[in-house]
């Protein structure tokens, strides 16, 4: 493992830095894509060991992290990391997550960045390695032995030669501060030495969760606490014209009606009183501008003013396409989808005088602290955000916006206030994963080999993660008078100086040659990747595998179309166009585990015109271009009469570098694969001419626990000696593509739009006859 930052780290660090100082197109794009990830200076200095690790008088260890548990298992994995590097039993490690009073500012827990950030050479891992080295140094002085003759084992430093010469961590430090900087040379243990990290340690929180004792943010209770509920605008763009407080006359328990521009809320003594009050409060709205018709939305996107970006351009695609033996053209579209957390978002705020404390499930403790400070007109240092776990978020759900709600309401009444959103407001106003329209043209030579890949996409965007200074990026900040980030139209002035495939806009099969270097995973030399960000009528923001999933759906399905055209086996055809060895390896591993039979698609069942037909499909990608290699094989059944499709097996092979916890990784693969299936088969935000209509679980279709759950098989490729990559978003990225390809294999019909609903499948089958 090298100490030089990788391209990804460098870009993301620069992104984080620039976000606070400027707003160039690059910055906007990065901020919109994910928000800042990196570790920043705050009153907790990340360069100091004491900011990360404390050795207590009893020899136990308290660590502090800016990367928090969202259900993905990072809490247990970070315990393993600390236990491993510090050589203390796991049970003797306590971890404090994302409390702006005490933890370093690590931006946002997102983007599959917690593992790359904290499990390589920097940050938490570096702190833990520094601490072990420091403890051995202290013991060397205490015992009068050279450090090279000492080892740290189970919370004790002892002589390698004489076990009797030993001193415990507690005795060495005695609860004092360590007062040393993070060491750039402190040696991390090699994966071969690991005894805790890399092992299938069970999640430490499962027992409390399964017995209903775990404290979620929803369970936080503060003395004197009141209950708030909000009234969101009637429709996008609507603003408050009048609020008639007299409409609440006679209702028990109402403490205050709070109005700030178009932010409206009610605070009451008890939660049910607040619910009834917001239902009864008469608010007059000035209407919004209306919504573009959904049935023409993808065409609508093409007509919008756009901010363009050219990721790569070999400047010859029109020529090579003109010379190609065959050209395959296709348009793929993907709808807005939502995070749809099973619990609606909740926060508790206590604003008193010029101080505020907010208990929040935000992924972004420090940025949320800054946003709340802006909203309340307080210095950021007077605001404390304490992360308390929420319902799984999968990106920016309502956690940030409800934290603002609670802060505004508590500020207005001077007492602690708990706010929980209702289901309709959660779903109508969250920051959706973006819709996409993707046009592609692929040119082939006379031998059936791809020579050209041309990609052009339109995706709508509005708002995003609020970061440190954009509270208007979510609904509460916008209603309170802050502007969301919106698209500033601009033409691309040439391709990017270096190839950064962070959004997976480029397919795996191109060379990615720009700025004198080739960063792509493939061999196709004639390449162009042009994106258009256009205005969105709805708030958007990162949803698990943002843009990467939509792009991969388009790339990997088109690759399948091309393979079918030249009658090649889809896996062999992919391998012919790849050069990245790790990607090729996961693809082969998935095929092997699936018992893949080499043959072209569509398969034998596609000749049948009735009954249930079977097919298989594959897809692969390097997540974000450098953050995890994954391949999948999907086996499906399609009922040609009902149009229903079901998956029977999903086989996922994954290489994310050295594995911190194989059970945790399997868990992420299984959840990602099935969530990906739900998104591929049923999930779609819908609207009419004025407002969103998918506002509950009958109108937004998530696969329930009782659906016909496929077998999910994971093939883990452990690769010590390279940088650790994230594993939270890899599997989900490839599901829609593989299912679409399997659907084609089973029926001979290509559907270029998700979700693959029975109606859509039936319509496609009947068109083909």
């Amino acid at each position: 493992m090298s100490g030089t930052p990788s391209r990804r780290v460098f870009l993301k660090r620069s992104g984080a830095l620039i976000v606070s100082f400027g707003s160039s197109a690059l910055v906007e794009r990065l901020a919109l894509a994910q928000g800042p990830f990196g570790t920043r200076m705050s009153h907790v200095d990340p360069r100091q060991l004491d900011s990360w690790v404390a050795v207590n008088a009893d020899g136990s260890v308290t660590a502090r992290t800016g990367k928090c548990e969202l259900g993905q298992g990072i809490y247990t994995a970070q315990l393993q990391l600390i236990a491993e590097e510090l050589s203390v039993p796991l049970a003797r490690v306590k971890l404090i997550e994302c409390d702006t009073d005490v933890t370093p500012d690590q931006g946002t827990t997102s983007g599959s960045q917690s593992t790359p950030t904290n499990f390589n050479q920097r940050n938490l891992a570096q702190a833990a390695a520094t601490a072990r080295e420091h403890l051995i140094g202290l013991a060397s002085q205490r015992l009068g032995l050279p450090a090279s003759e000492l080892e740290a084992v189970d919370g004790v430093v002892r002589s390698k030669a004489d076990d009797a010469k030993r001193v415990g961590y507690g005795e060495l430090v005695a609860g004092r501060r360590l007062n040393v900087p993070l060491s750039a040379t402190a040696r991390r243990k090699a994966p071969g030495e690991w005894t805790v990290l890399g092992k299938p340690v069970p999640r430490v929180d499962l027992a409390e969760l399964a017995t209903g004792q775990f404290e979620f943010v929803h369970n936080v209770r503060v003395p004197g606490m009141l209950h708030g509920r909000v009234v969101r605008p009637q429709e996008p763009g609507a603003t408050v014209a009048a609020v008639d407080e007299s409409s609440l006359r006679g209702l028990q328990g109402v403490v205050k009606v709070v109005v700030r521009r178009s932010f409206v809320g009610v605070v009451a003594e008890k939660p049910w009183q607040a619910v009834r009050a917001v239902g009864q409060l008469r608010v007059t709205w000035a209407k919004g501008a209306g919504l573009p018709p959904q049935d023409d939305f993808y065409n609508h996107l093409r007509r919008q003013p756009a901010r363009d970006a050219l990721l790569v351009d070999s400047r010859d695609v029109d020529d090579t396409l003109a010379r190609a033996a065959q050209v395959v053209k296709a348009t793929y579209v993907h709808p807005y989808q939502m995070h749809g957390s099973v619990g609606t978002s909740c926060a508790v705020a206590d604003v008193s005088g010029d101080k505020a404390t907010v208990w929040s499930a935000t992924q972004s403790a420090y940025p949320t602290r800054s946003g709340i400070a802006l909203l309340l007109g307080l210095p950021a240092d007077n605001v404390r955000v304490v992360f308390v776990r929420g319902s799984g978020c999968y990106g920016i759900n309502g956690a940030d916006t409800v934290s603002y709600d609670a802060a505004l309401l508590s500020h207005a009444v001077g007492r602690p206030v708990r706010v929980q959103l209702n289901r309709q407001d959660e779903m109508a106003w969250e920051n959706y994963g973006s819709a996409y329209v993707i046009d592609q043209r692929v040119g082939l030579d006379g031998t059936g080999r791809i020579t050209t890949w041309d990609y052009e996409a339109w995706s709508p965007t509005l708002g995003g993660r609020p970061g440190y200074d954009r509270p208007g990026n979510v609904v509460t900040g916008w209603t309170a008078g802050y502007e969301p980030l919106s698209v500033t139209p601009a033409r691309a002035t040439g391709s990017a100086r270096s190839f950064n495939n962070g959004s997976n806009a480029a397919p795996s099969y191109v060379t990615g040659c720009t700025g004198g270097a080739c960063g792509g995973a493939g061999t196709v030399r004639s390449e162009r990747v042009l994106t258009h960000a256009v205005p969105s009528p709805f708030f958007t923001g990162p949803l698990r595998s943002p843009s990467r999933l939509q792009n991969t759906f388009a790339h990997e399905c088109l690759m399948d179309e091309v393979a079918a055209l030249v009658k090649a086996d889809p896996i062999a055809y992919r391998l012919r166009h790849l050069k990245d060895q790790r990607l090729m390896e996961v693809l082969r591993a998935a095929a092997k585990a699936a018992g893949w039979e080499a043959r072209p698609s569509p398969g034998p069942d596609s000749r049948r015109r009735a009954g249930v037909v079977r097919g298989r499909g594959c897809a692969c990608v390097i997540y974000e271009g450098d953050n995890g290699h994954v391949a999948i094989v999907a086996e499906v059944e399609v009922n040609r009469t009902s149009g229903r499709i079901g998956a029977k097996r999903l086989i996922v092979a994954q290489d994310c570098g050295p594995i911190s916890n194989p059970e945790g990784m399997r868990h992420q693969i299984e959840g990602g694969a099935l969530q990906g299936l739900s998104r591929a088969l049923g999930e779609e935000v819908t609207w009419d001419d004025r407002r969103v209509t998918s506002v509950d679980w009958q109108t937004y279709h998530s696969l329930p626990l009782g659906f016909d759950v496929p077998v999910v098989e994971s093939v883990l490729i452990d690769r010590p000696g390279v940088e650790a990559a994230g594993a939270g978003e890899t599997a989900i990225t490839v599901v829609a593509a593989a299912v679409g390809n399997a659907l084609f294999d089973a029926t001979g019909v290509r559907i270029r739009e998700v979700p693959f609903t029975p109606e859509r499948i039936k319509a496609a089958l009947s068109t083909r006859g």
């Binding site: 004792q213 775990f214 289901r423």
Partner: protein, 155 residues
Amino acid sequence: MSTIALKVNGRSHAVDVDPTTPLLYVLSDDLALRGPKFGCGLGQCGACTVIIGARAVRSCITAVGTLNGAEVTTLEGLGTPQAPHPIQRAFIDEQAAQCGFCLSGVILTAKAFLDGQPRASDAEIQRALSSVLCRCFAHTRMLRAIKRYARERRA
């Protein structure tokens, strides 16, 4: 306001509330229980599930005024981290949760169903869970845990 008598996890309570208040609000606010959760308020997802008598009930759409004298069991009423109920033990052993927010719906719906139909087939179990949501999609492990509990229960 009126006084409603409830027995929750074996303890008797008299709560003075508006009788239209959903049971969930009484459990999580007045009685400070952590098991039942507000998920949708519409009876669609299961996160608020409790067992009343022998039935799984969605407490977010059950007015407390209709329940005078009822015996309610919440997720924390089944067992503790130290002494979990066998179905909770199965979930812990199978690591059958990610965020864990939905567990009241999953565990209590499955338990009430299997208590009534201990010999249910896998397909019947699946059907019983057709309106329970887990958005982390820990489905494979959850179904494994439930089937394991079903097997152990029969043994």
